[in-house]
Amino acid sequence: MIAVELRKLVLSRRTWVTILLIDALPTLVGILLAVTDLGPRPGTGPAFLSAVLTDGTLFPLAALAIVLPLFLPIAVAVTAGDAIAGEAQQGTLRYLLIRPVGRTRLLVAKLVSVMVFVVLTVLVVAATAYVVGVLLLGSEDATTGATSVSGSSLSTQELAGRTMLALAYAMLCMLGVAAIALFLSTVVTTPLAAALGTMGVLVTSTVLLTLDAADVLQPYLPTRYWLSFVDLFRDPILWRDVERGVLLQGVYVVVFLGAAWANFATKDITD
């Protein structure tokens, strides 16, 4: 079942067009920076973007900061929202369930497929950004390494290791989005409604994060710790918010996947 879903994902033209579109923005930003040599003013713009003019190897992180707040969650919400509701809308869900496949297994296969999409997207964005960064913006002196957020030196190995951790953290954040969208996909009958519902949750979270009056809710909002991957580049690493981010996303995944399973396992399928 998982293999079928993965084959569908990889062979789908929509998958690659979506990844291409997500990848296009940071690539365009990289080219513009290289051509104009005009970075954002320090303290403004996405994380690490002001630093990439002197060190292109940081561009994968800047690209992550560019796509993480909006582009990537939209793509994940659309893809995960389509998982069950898309089959229902096309009228293929009941045929799918006629096969001797448990509904829980189908749900797991859909989730794995969405996660592979997230991993593919993040890796393509990071790899493209690395190539664009090194070719167009240049790399740091191999003998001196990159500069951490705290001003100390990071060796190439340290930078690579922390970048991998940051990418894994971003993937986990997107798993939380996927769990919400997958749950909604089992509730509604159109993928658009599931995607919009998920985006509604994320927009609400983002707005509440700017509101002092919502202070008491903020530690529990799904987008609260998304940008905490920056803390991996402080010296020493500040694990506090990263740990909380991992825990929070874990809770969202467990709760919403549980709800999706509870709703879908014996749901009447009419489409």
Partner: protein
């Protein structure tokens, strides 16, 4: 499993995930049997105790935003996240954490390096006696040291304990007795083992919520490693030397005048031996900075746009919580900037004392 059973399992999971942390937090903190005087002595005795941790401050003071004072405005008017390592008064590091960067203060042997990731610069400066407030002044142990100066056991009472950074911390309330004070009271909670202050709330008169709060969210009383307070600058980072730290330091060094020994009924601090006057002690303090017209005019304009501004005979005044600000003079005149945790009447009286008692130095050049 039936549909009801599955939803019940999910609901139980949610209950566990949400309910357990809430239930743990709802357990009231234990309150050690320690008197106000004993706790005050423990806090005073902790001044040299090392510590490290993660600190959050929350300021509700709506101060004017002017280039020379923008850091002060954000420190007292916004929330600030910091992590700090304190091996001693002369060996510490305090990082102000920003979403996509940080500004660090690293202090050794009377010298402080300020590293700004977003500005991509490091500045080395000596620590002057007179300067504007900075992040390191607002971590609970440092702020408490300043607030509790000249306080004795008769000035404090015990309040209920509170759980701070996982520690059941006994509390103290301090109410200033000086007639010039604008602070209504200060609540402080300290680590019962070491006496290190963990949380401080500053209240203005008549305000139900604190005007300023600083607290540890993570705390360790262990001595931080030597490397924690180092600044091993990456190759390529140039450390520039600053002769002047900020506008208060500049005025103190170069303004050719000396303020009087006493203003608004408050005596001048012994550390105040230049052109800037620092008056009072503890909760009732006032700073008087002489300003040239090119510095005073834009500040006066900003003060004029601040809600609640009052145009008095002695100058332009605003108040934010317990903090009063008065800028004397008019456009093109320069003036004295007076700011502190004192009443408006005290600021006006101090402005008069400065006008009458300032000594102007002869220009020998």
């Amino acid at each position: 499993m039936t549909r009801t059973g599955r939803w019940a399992a999910v609901a139980l999971g949610v209950l566990l995930v949400v309910g357990v942390p809430v239930a743990i937090r709802a357990i009231p903190p234990s309150d050690p049997d320690v008197g106000a005087g004993e706790l005050l002595a423990a806090v005073a005795g902790s001044e040299d105790h090392p510590w490290s941790g993660y600190v959050e401050t929350e300021g509700a003071l709506d101060l004017p935003v002017e280039d020379n004072f923008s850091d002060v405005g954000s420190l007292f008017g916004e929330s600030t996240r910091m992590r700090a390592w304190w091996r001693g008064d002369d060996d510490w590091r305090v990082d102000r954490l920003l979403v996509a960067g940080e500004t660090d203060l690293v202090h050794h042997s009377g010298l402080t390096i300020e590293w700004s990731y977003e500005g991509d610069r490091a500045r080395l400066s000596r620590d002057p006696d007179i300067r504007l407030p900075r992040t390191a002044d607002l971590v609970p142990p440092v702020l408490a040291e300043r607030l509790l100066r000249d306080v004795d056991a008769g000035d404090v009472v015990r309040i209920d304990a509170r759980r701070v950074a996982g520690v059941d911390a006994p509390g103290l309330r301090l109410e200033p007795t000086a007639p010039q004070a604008s602070v209504d009271h200060v609540d402080l909670w300290a680590d019962p083992e070491t006496g290190v202050p963990l949380r401080i709330e500053v209240y203005a008169a008549g305000e139900p919520s604190p005007s300023f709060t600083t607290e540890f969210r993570d705390f360790s009383a262990a001595t931080p490693a030597t490397a924690a307070t180092d600044f091993p600058a990456a190759p390529g980072i140039q450390v520039d030397h600053d002769d002047v730290l900020d506008i208060a330091d500049a005025a103190n060094q170069y303004a050719p005048l000396r303020p009087p020994d006493r203003v608004g009924g408050l005596a001048k601090s012994s550390t105040s031996d230049g052109a800037v006057g620092v008056y009072g002690v503890g909760l009732t303090q006032l700073i008087a900075i002489p300003m040239r017209d090119r510095e005073a005019d834009p500040l006066r304009e900003q003060l004029g746009q601040t809600p609640g501004v009052r145009h008095l005979a002695s100058g332009t005044a605003v108040s934010a919580g317990p903090l009063g600000v008065l800028l004397t003079g008019e456009d093109g005149d320069g003036g004295w900037l007076l700011a502190g945790t004192v009443t408006e009447d005290t600021l006006v009286e101090a402005a008069g004392d400065l006008a009458r008692g300032t000594t102007y130095l002869q220009d020998d050049s």
